[in-house]
Amino acid sequence: MRRAVLPAFLLFGVAPFAAARQPAPQILGLRLGMPYAQARSRLNQIGQFKSEDEGQQVWTLTHDRHYQYAIIGFDRDRQVRYITVLARPDGKPVSYADVGDLAQATRSGGPGNIRYTWRVSAKGGHFEYLVIAKGKDQHYLDRFAVKRLGAENEREDRD
């Protein structure tokens, strides 16, 4: 009995920890692949519509302590293709490590221009997505984005 408990502890203790360190395909309740109507409903809860450009919408976040704007792109099927949030200049800072395990990320750029990128497979392996945190500060991010790879309207057509 005791021998069985330990593996179970590891299973339920480490697994949630690992899951927490792997960035999820969502930000502020907005998920990659979410249908337009659902995304719009969620956006209406958290912000105000500001502008739209070529299938990409800018929303001002009204209550979030961390982020001031959300930029959301939709694919041809009107599903969420990417979400980018911009840090609030006077808000509660978000560290790169808050996004995910930095050891699992690719770091690029240099001082004043830092970028961490995680490439993640969604649960079930249905699709892959990128998680990107970037900023000028060495600890805290300016922008945080999740983007579905291989989504319709990504770049199949010359534009």
Binding site: K50, S51, G73, T84, G110, R155, R158
Partner: protein, 626 residues
């Protein structure tokens, strides 16, 4: 971070410094703040004939433009105060002129509203052998109060001081362009080359005299034999090793002065790219773009690095050293920049080795500031980087970097309205920015800035002579500071000529290519129909990107324009109407001109200036041969 101004000019020699560095340099900055003329100022009244004169400060030196001068060393200041209210100046103007004796010297004249940090509302930047500069200002528009006259030594040897005069007088009445308009000839690519064009690029190699152009997957070298008249064109396919098989977006950029041509095919978040220094005979494969430069609508451009002059180095050594860090790393003397839109923002990356490798891309702006898609990079002779955008808030916008792509500002193009075509900029030899765009009403406009986009003036609709009501693909190139050309496709037909054309009645219109040219700094323009007997397109030209219905977006998103060493203008465009039947319909005013009547072709074509003055005054004595 503080924004620090090294000279007293508003954005002259702009750097970003840490606060401590700023404080350490403050004394040095203020020690050289302004070097005035004699007397240093005057007051004028709203009376015809009210006048004042002054003597220049006796400075000497050489600068690239106003942003590279150091007051007291190679530029000086004179202040004019206009009394009364703007309404008092109805029917009057403020005329300011300077003159000197030696034809080998060249002074330039800039007038700021307010102090030197205020907008440049007028400038005169002619070159050798002229011995004078003059501007006219309308106080009913610009207001009364303080005007600061900034006289800059473009190239001035000691011993030739200038004298200045400011007068309240009656306005000039002549607003028409004088002289002969340029003429142009069209050169279609031969069969089998450039058949699948769309959003072509074009560049001129000043060293070889050849033209390079990109038509999707075809990189084409074009040589014009001027021993015959009209000149004969020879087109040769000069594909790069990695740029002729796949394309999400094609771009070609030629640095005219170095002769290097860079070919780029968008490929994910970077490009497949290679460069050539011999017009495509051999190529070097490059990194492509900066790390994570973005996924869409890339542009490549380049020109001189922004580096301090010797006078600036003496005056402000620390910021100059910061600039130098982003200077050349190899023998290749110029900067290369790569920019693209990404997810929610747009970024630019600097190459310090001629486009072989790039730094990690730096964000320029987000979609909160401007639309994601942008126009093409241009670099001034003093190393200022410009990137136009069709939608920044409610106006067109210009993204500016004055530190070799380290930081960026977004300048609204005041007075403009947004549209769906990417705008374009041309930069004159002394820094004047010509911003060509399609206004919200579809008309082709061009506006001028003499202070790196902080203020704009002389916004004109150059389509008026042809009653143009729909316009796409504005492209601009400049030569001398007061000479520029503006190429666009236009039609006099009203209606939604750039939409998806899904209504019950298809858009009916004949599109031609037009080039407008100024020889006086944008005050007046010659507009010429460069395809008068051969329409470029019948029906709609959809500019709604990948959402356009099939057959409406054959021309894709842009054209291009360049100038050769002699000042001759060349435009690259895609011809959508190439069969005899289509051309005949275009020339028949009573025929139908909808997309159903169009060929939907994608044929690479070049327009070459045949006659008239070019964009370099130094070449005026050698007339063009057709």
């Amino acid at each position: 971070m503080f924004r620090y101004t090294a000279s007293s000019v508003g954005r002259a020699t702009r750097f970003n410094l840490q606060p401590g560095v700023f404080l350490a340099l403050a004394a040095l900055c203020f020690a050289t703040i302004v070097y005035a003329a004699t007397p240093p100022s005057s007051t004028l009244n709203p009376v015809n004939g009210s006048s004042a004169s002054w003597a220049g400060g006796g400075t000497a030196g050489a600068t690239t433009d106003e942003t590279t001068c150091v007051d007291g060393t190679d530029c000086d200041v004179y202040t004019i105060t206009l009394t009364g209210s703007p309404a008092n100046y109805k029917g009057l103007v403020l005329a300011i002129s300077i003159s000197h004796q030696n034809k080998l010297n060249d002074y330039d004249l800039y007038v700021h509203k307010g102090d030197l940090t205020g907008p440049v509302i007028a400038s005169s930047t002619g070159g050798i052998p002229e011995t004078g500069e003059a501007v006219v200002i309308d106080p009913t528009v610009s207001g009364t109060g303080v005007y600061t006259v900034h006289v800059v030594d473009s190239t001035v040897a000691p011993g030739d001081p200038y004298s200045g005069v400011a007068t309240i007088t009656t306005p000039p009445t002549d607003s028409l362009a004088h002289g002969n308009a340029p003429t142009y000839a069209n050169y279609q690519s031969p069969p089998g080359l450039g058949d699948n064009s769309g959003e072509p690029s074009i560049g001129a190699n000043f060293n070889s005299g050849r033209i390079m152009t990109q038509a999707i997957l075809d990189t084409l070298q074009v040589t014009f034999n001027t021993n015959t008249s009209p000149a004969m064109a020879t087109w040769l396919l000069k594909d790069g090793p990695n740029t002729s098989t796949t394309s999400l977006d094609p771009i070609l950029f030629t640095d005219s002065h170095t002769g290097r041509t860079i070919v780029s095919q968008l490929f994910g978040t970077t490009s497949l790219s290679a460069f050539t220094d011999n017009d495509g005979e051999t190529y070097t494969v490059s990194q492509g773009g900066g790390i994570a430069s973005g996924v869409d609508h890339q542009t490549v451009g380049g020109g001189p690095f922004r580096l301090c002059t010797a006078d600036q180095l003496l005056a402000t050594p620390v910021p100059c050293a910061q600039l130098a860090v982003r200077g050349p790393l190899t023998q290749y003397p110029h900067a290369v920049y790569y920019a693209s839109q990404d997810i929610g923002d747009a970024a630019m990356a600097l190459s310090q080795d001629g486009g072989l490798t790039y730094e990690a891309a730096r964000p320029m702006y987000t979609l909160v500031d401007c639309g994601g898609l942008h126009g093409h990079i241009k670099v001034s002779s003093s190393g200022i980087v410009y990137l136009p955008n069709k939608s920044c808030g409610n106006t067109q916008g210009l993204i500016v970097s004055m530190d070799n792509g380290l930081t960026f500002t977004v300048e609204p193009v005041t007075g403009s309205t947004s549209n769906s075509s990417d705008p374009s900029v041309g930069i004159g030899s002394k820094g004047r920015v010509y911003f060509g765009y399609v206004a919200g009403d579809g008309h082709p406009h061009i506006t001028i800035s003499d202070d790196q986009g902080r203020s704009w003036h002389n916004d004109l609709d150059v389509g008026v002579p042809f009653s143009i009501r729909n316009t796409v693909f504005p492209e601009v190139v400049a030569g001398d500071n007061d000479r520029a050309s503006f190429f666009f496709l236009g039609t006099p037909s009203a209606g939604d000529g750039t939409g998806a054309d899904t209504g019950p009645t298809p858009f009916n219109g004949v599109w031609h290519g037009y080039i407008a040219t100024t020889y006086n700094g944008g005050r007046t323009w010659f507009t010429v129909d460069t395809t008068p007997n051969d329409a470029v397109q019948l029906g709609v030209i959809c500019t709604q990107g990948t959402t356009c219905p099939s057959g409406t977006r054959n021309l894709l998103d842009f054209n291009d324009l360049t100038v050769d060493k002699m000042g001759r203008v060349f435009a690259a465009y895609t011809d959508g109407c190439i069969t005899a039947a289509c051309i005949a319909r275009g020339n028949n005013s009573t025929a139908s001109h909808t997309r159903l009547d169009n060929d939907g072709a994608t044929k690479a074509t070049i327009i070459r200036q045949s006659t008239g003055l070019g964009l370099f005054k130094s070449q005026d004595a050698t007339p063009f041969r057709p």
